[in-house]
Symmetry: C2
Subunit: 283 residues, 2 copies
């Protein structure tokens, strides 16, 4: 399976239902029928909006290449980055609820999307069950993603949020067949900050911290994972108790703070704090 070009898709500025299925990781569903369904494609240049918040919902946009941010602007002018989207994601799903897009989808680099007019997509879906599945898969995935974002934002220190965010990003990249060690952040620190609910200065500091502790290497917007295992362990650190050990617990009460984190990177053995966090420990 070709991950850079989609056959004739690019040249002719159109693609097939099969392409959509492939991008979304449903290659096994590709068949002659899905080959027959054709969608127009659109090249999108950096900074361009694919959906406009408040505009009437008409199409879903399947990302073939490139990265987007979804930005919601509230009535007072505050911007919130709701998420980052790439191949395997669909733009515009929130429009399903009330017929209006819930945010701007801004290209963070030159990109390509397939335009699926929703009405037509539905018609196609009636003939090609795989396409119907595709829509549900996309919706479910979007919901799942949001829940993951909630996990990132809920109740952890800034460095941990960042760690989770990075691991999430690179996991998605790896799913698409790219490196699981190196990545380029397409978004600004400010975008990350908005998405994670922290100050952009804190993003800087946290990146530096993660680098100091040897988990990652940061060169501008290029990130390399140096210690995937350690980072994976680190992302689990919270301020609350780990889990109430089945046989009762009697450890020292100490919060996991920066120095412990660093140690965690060194010798891999740390008892993180066990005070009561607001993430209720599982009983």
């Amino acid at each position: 399976m070709d991950t850079r070009m989609d056959g004739a898709a690019m040249q002719s500025a159109r693609c097939t239902g099969s392409d959509l299925l492939r991008w979304m990781g449903m290659a096994h569903e590709v068949g002659p029928r899905s080959d027959q369904i054709v969608f127009p494609m659109r090249r999108v240049r950096v900074g361009t909006l694919v959906t406009h918040e408040g505009a009437p919902f008409e199409s879903l946009y399947f990302i073939s290449a490139g990265t987007f941010k979804s930005v919601h602007t509230d009535p007072d002018g505050y911007e919130l980055v709701q998420g980052f989207l790439a191949r395997g994601d669909v733009i515009g799903l929130d429009g399903l609820s009330d017929g209006v897009y819930g945010g701007d989808a801004v290209a963070l680099e030159d990109a390509t999307v397939a335009i699926a007019a929703f009405r037509e997509l539905l018609n196609a879906a009636r003939q090609v069950p795989a396409l119907e599945q595709l829509i549900f898969l996309a919706s479910g995935r979007e919901i799942r993603r949001k829940n993951m974002t909630l996990e990132v934002m809920a109740a952890v220190g800034a460095e941990v949020r960042l760690a989770r965010f990075l691991l999430q990003l690179i996991a998605r990249q790896a799913e698409q067949g790219y490196s699981a060690r190196r990545m380029v952040l397409r978004m600004s620190r400010r975008d990350i900050a908005s998405h994670l609910g922290i100050a952009h200065e804190t993003v800087s500091r946290s990146l530096t911290a993660l680098a100091d502790w040897g988990y990652i290497d940061v060169q501008h917007r290029e990130i390399e994972i140096l210690d995937a295992e350690g980072l994976e362990r680190f992302k689990r650190v919270t301020r609350g108790p780990a889990i109430k050990p089945p046989g009762g617990r009697g450890g020292a009460t100490r919060r996991a703070r920066a120095q412990d984190m660093a140690r965690l990177a060194d010798d891999g053995e740390v008892h993180h704090g066990n005070g009561y966090g607001h993430l209720s420990p599982g009983v």
Copy 2:
């Protein structure tokens, strides 16, 4: 339209597609065809789980009555309340992505749900387009809700988070035809805390603060909105700049803190801080 009972539904422990449409606010789509589709119902007692995290996805559960919390437990045992669901919501949508439920749905009070086996629902949808729409509506709504939760959690003080949460809750209740002034919190402070990403002690304190400022009245789990307008204004307060006023601005640089909030309640005129928050101000 009856909002308490659904005709024969309760007695016979089954309901029709029309009922589903009504609960979801699609009463206008009700027709003879949707009357023909029948779904079994299930009574759910407090504390009972409707979906189990990790269990194979098979059905969607349409809430007829009662309240649920959706709880995700991560491998380390930390619990995160992903959201609260009531009539008008559907349980289990996150299972659409990978065929597994993403969290436990726990009843916070005795409740009733309609069980829609997904396969059958799809079949029914082929005959009754309104039901197809229904699924998409539900998905889109779920995504929209998650985005609203992100807004709540992103970058604001605890009192404001709480204010937004309460207003959200009561708006949903009002949508269903109930009071827009009084409500009963079905969930514990701890649940709220987990959902908002703050400590449960902070939830207590913030409720007290909102009450002290005259926005609400708190009696245990009963909340009354005393000053809807003020609360609406208050929820907009952030730590960052309001909006960069079109004609440039020159106000004093002061953060909006508790005392200002209180004042806001009194005389309704406050210039909240205007330093640069991490919620980028709209250009």
